[in-house]
């Protein structure tokens, strides 16, 4: 059986700067994994490279539900079932959230479930007042994350990568986002939470924690890995895995 996400020896660079130096990662369906790492370790690059952002030169393999996505354009990867919740969601002035979800549904005509997921996720995340507003325009940090989670619920991907969804949030908002991630958990989706802090992991159950340092996953294990990092920090791991 295929996994939600399988990444093998993924490398990425901008010019001469090598940012990802061979990442290996497997997220099975139904599981929630976390990637933790210090600033500059390549966490956000991992998101962008998997999503297909053109700023990078990338090599290696990445499969979503067994489908090779590396040669695909950004939108093809999305339609293949990959979703990225952005750390800094882009504002789209003049386009409402409803306009966007309508265009998403039209882009994926074989999936007839959009309308049902829209109303279900609207209820779960109390999104009613936001649907007529312009995408991410004038939203607070917490509201932007909620909007991203709403789009995740509507898109219903096979694999969701949540890039620093806890950044810039106060503790109540972090707790709320963690609860949303929990609510999204399902047997036909894998979730990867990218975070700098272990804080959010206190409020959600993760199956596995991967530690990324200098462009590589250097440690993987159960939730206890996050706790160890909490006390020890990244310094030791960084020293041991210097470029």
């Amino acid at each position: 059986m295929s996994n939600a996400l399988e990444v093998t020896n993924l490398k990425a660079s901008i010019g001469d700067l090598e940012i990802l130096r061979g990442v290996d990662l497997v997220v099975p369906f139904g599981e929630v994994h976390a990637v933790m790492g210090p600033n500059g370790s390549g966490k956000s690059t991992l998101c962008h490279v998997l999503m297909g952002k053109s700023d990078y030169e990338a090599s290696g393999d990445a499969f979503v539900d067994g489908v090779d996505i590396m040669g695909m354009a950004v939108d093809e990867r999305a339609r293949a079932g990959l979703f990225e919740a952005f750390q800094y969601p882009t504002e789209i002035p003049g386009v409402t959230l409803d306009d966007l979800t309508e265009a998403m549904a039209a882009s994926n005509p074989s999936d007839e479930g959009y309308a049902a997921r829209e109303s279900a996720t609207t209820k779960t995340l109390s999104m009613e007042p936001f649907r007529e507003r312009f995408v991410n325009v004038g939203l607070s940090g917490g509201e932007k994350k909620r909007s991203e989670m709403y789009l995740l619920g509507v898109a219903k991907p096979k694999m969701a990568i949540l890039d620093e969804i806890d950044s810039g949030l106060d503790i109540d908002a972090v707790r709320e986002v963690a609860a949303m991630v929990e609510a999204m958990r399902s047997d036909d989706m894998g979730i990867l939470v990218i975070t700098h802090y272990s804080r959010i992991l206190r409020y959600m159950a993760v199956d596995k924690v991967h530690v990324m340092v200098n462009g590589k996953i250097v440690q993987s294990g159960g939730p206890e890995v996050a706790e160890e990092l909490e006390s020890g920090g990244y310094t030791e791991l960084q020293a041991a895995n210097a470029r």
Binding site: M51, K53, A73, V74, D75, R77, A78, R79, F83, E84, F86, P89, T90, I92, P93, G94, V95, D99, L100, A103, M104, A106, S107, N108, F134, L151, A155
Partner: protein, 399 residues
């Protein structure tokens, strides 16, 4: 040259005098020079053919989608002639109305040759008015609209310019409005000439004390679509919101020269124009905020955003400030550039193809302005026309 006769019998003396005086001057005037800032960027190498001004209107076009969307009164101006029975013309009002339109070649030609503007005043303002201005042939024509909003009242007027044929016409439209004390005018201009037409429009609006103007322009057609606008904030506390959307393709030039003249105290202007150009089109926006010594406590802002969608297209965006008073607040923003890469990436990451992502971005770009146009029943038509222009350009591989 002989000016076309003014229909009707009661042509006032001032109008007769103005016409003959302007006719005398017209013979000595040359085409304006592109070396003058106010005409810069324009290709004025054409024959204005003023001698071809018709002596009677051609055959009016049928009502169309836009007039059918309209729920108020419709008045037609065909080849410069007010053709509706019962519609008033400016022959019945004073000569004051055209003050400030200037005396360049086109303004003088209008003064000499226009067969009379339609007058929309107190008697006609109980319902909103749609002025359907049409040209029907190759002739050079001079349509005019004057709106007179009495103190304390409200007026809602749409002026739509269109061509009923593909003929390469020259049109010199003039729009003037006097907005009385504490009165309101919502005026929307839809410029939809055919792509052969050179239109040199002149507009002057005078604002009385505590009066307000919402003026929107939608620039779709014309080979040269020029609008030279003066808003005179004469009464204290007067304000104006100026909106513009334009989309140029082919070899169109869309040329906007907007002058906000703050004379009274505590006046306020907001200009917000958004445009896109593709193919070999050119857009020009020069916005001037001029605050006279008397214009203290003026607040004046202008924003002009332009999208360049093809390598052959260009946009000139030139905000200007001339401030002679103290204690004022002014601001301007101007940008010219391609579609936003971050927006495209974000939308594609939601599964939208690049084409669909760009269409959505274009729609959003214009929606910020279109949604502010007060004539809401026309908005679906405006959206559709602009989006269709873009989608056609995509399908034909120009953007």
């Amino acid at each position: 040259m002989t000016a076309p006769a003014i229909p009707g019998t009661d042509v006032p003396d001032w109008l007769v005098a103005r016409r003959s005086e302007a006719s005398r001057r017209l013979g000595d005037l040359a085409m304006p020079s592109e070396r003058e800032e106010i005409w810069r960027y324009l290709d004025l190498d054409f024959d204005p053919a003023f001698g071809s001004a018709p002596s009677q209107p051609g055959v009016a076009g049928d009502s169309d989608e836009l007039t059918e969307l309209w729920t108020g009164k419709v008045v037609s101006v065909i080849d410069g002639f007010v053709t509706d029975r019962g519609a008033s013309t400016v022959a019945s009002v004073s000569e004051q109305i055209d003050e400030g339109a200037g005396n360049d070649l086109f303004a003088t030609a209008y003064d000499a040759l226009a067969p009379g503007a339609v007058l929309i005043d107190g008697d006609h303002l109980s319902e909103k008015v749609f002025v359907d201005v049409q040209t029907t042939g190759v002739a050079t024509t001079f349509p005019g609209v004057h709106v007179d909003v009495p103190p304390g009242s409200e007026a809602s007027v749409v002026v739509r310019f269109r061509s009923t044929t593909d003929a390469p016409a020259v049109v010199v439209p003039r729009l003037t409005a006097d907005v009385g004390d504490n009165a309101r005018l919502a005026l929307t201009v839809i410029q939809d000439w055919n792509y052969q037409t050179r239109a040199m429009a002149r507009a002057v609006v005078n604002l009385g004390r505590d009066s307000g103007l919402t003026l929107s322009e939608v620039g779709l057609g014309a080979k040269i679509g020029r609008l030279h606008l003066d808003v005179n904030f004469i009464g204290r506390g007067s304000w104006a919101k100026i909106y513009g959307v334009y989309f140029g393709e082919d070899d169109q030039t869309l040329d906007y020269r907007y002058f906000m003249n703050h004379i009274g105290t505590n006046t306020r202007s907001d200009m917000f124009l958004k445009g896109a150009v593709e193919d070999d089109a050119l857009s020009v926006f020069t916005g001037m905020i001029r605050i006279e010594t008397t214009g203290i406590k003026t607040e004046a802002f202008q924003t002009n955003r332009n999208l360049i969608l093809s390598s052959g297209a260009s946009a000139q965006s030139v905000p200007n400030l001339e401030i002679l008073a103290n204690d004022v607040k002014c601001g301007h923003g101007s940008s010219v550039g391609p579609l936003d890469e971050d927006q495209r990436y974000y939308l594609m990451s939601r599964g939208l193809t690049p084409d669909v992502a760009d269409r959505l971005q274009i729609r959003g770009f214009f929606e910020e302005t279109i949604s502010k146009i007060p004539h809401r029943d026309l908005l679906p038509w405006i959206r559709e026309r602009i989006n269709t222009k873009y989608i056609t350009a995509q399908e034909e591989g120009r953007v």
